[in-house]
């Protein structure tokens, strides 16, 4: 089915060249990688096409791919699409950032599927992907003053989330691990 969708996207959305990402696990949930420049047009096509009618975006999540020997690492936003009208799905669509540090913008698909609004906020909050065109991109789970993105693979959790003047027990153990020189003898 993905092959067919890929062909139809290529003919219907000029310049769009989706790539099929194979999933080698037993679930075999293969997905379609869209390029950022044509993502909104492609998504609109997927939603409005008479045969596909993927009118329901059930889930949006993120994936953090760390740097490996062959790749410099990137972040992905993954959308699970279903059709309420045609009763088929899921079709899994991915968007990929250029890297994990400074080029982390992706087009928001909230204008296409309104249900993506809060979940894109969640991906922004936990993975740090910036969705251009999102109507209200704020943190949703973490508090406004929080600075990191907890679901990134290289996230280091603080010794303690709540300030306490004298560290003890687990917190003290963690503090000693990364700052032994600050501990009194």
């Amino acid at each position: 089915m993905l092959e067919e969708i890929k062909l139809r996207l290529e003919t219907s959305v000029p310049g769009c060249h989706p790539e099929i990402i194979l999933n080698g696990s037993p679930s075999e949930q293969h997905s379609l990688l869209l390029d950022s420049a044509h993502a909104v047009d492609a998504a609109t096509f997927l939603r409005d096409d008479a045969e596909l009618r993927l009118d329901y975006c059930s889930n949006v999540t993120g994936v953090d791919w760390l740097q490996t020997e062959t790749s410099h690492g990137y972040l992905e936003a993954v959308y699970h699409l279903y059709s309420m009208e045609k009763k088929h799905g899921p079709v899994v669509v991915r968007l990929r950032t250029e890297n994990r540090t400074d080029r982390i913008h992706l087009p928001s698909l909230t204008p296409v599927w309104r249900s993506a609004e809060f979940q894109e906020r969640e991906v922004f909050d936990l993975y740090g992907i910036i969705f251009d065109g999102h109507p209200d991109l704020r943190r949703i789970l973490m508090w406004d003053e929080f600075e990191d993105h907890p679901m990134r693979k290289d996230y280091v959790e603080p010794d303690d989330y709540e300030y306490e003047p004298t560290a003890h027990d687990d917190v003290l153990t963690k503090a000693k691990q990364h700052a032994p020189q600050q501990q009194p003898e």
Partner: protein
């Protein structure tokens, strides 16, 4: 009463928000459980024109414990009790969805009626 979770009411927005037949005076309040023991739970920042709600922003609060983060350092089986706590009203359906997801991920075939342990 204002909060950082709703944008300040600007003049232009003010004009747009006035309800037909409203009282031309907007009030922004936090609607939700107001009890000291329920801090950090879901609430809504609403903008009222008289008694009409003209704008509403849901604020999730801090009940979300990010089970997916906890699951990173737990086994598949150890994550199961956390799915109970996603929603106390429908624990079983969350268990079920999680079990199905793990089975699908691992390619496990489970018989539909586990009647005997023979």
């Amino acid at each position: 009463m204002t909060s950082t979770t709703t944008t300040p009411l600007e003049e232009q927005m003010h004009e747009e928000l006035i309800a037909p037949g409203g009282q031309d005076e907007l009030l922004e309040i936090a609607l939700g459980p107001h009890h000291p023991s329920t801090h950090g739970v879901f609430r809504m920042d609403v903008v009222l024109d008289g008694e009409r709600v003209v704008k509403l922003k849901p604020v999730f609060g801090y009940l979300h414990r990010n089970h997916e983060k906890i699951a990173e350092s737990a086994s598949y089986l150890a994550s199961m009790p956390y799915t109970d706590r996603l929603d106390y009203i429908c624990s079983l359906s969350n268990n079920w969805a999680y079990a199905l997801a793990v089975e699908k991920l691992a390619g496990l075939q489970v018989q539909s009626e586990p009647s005997t342990y023979a």
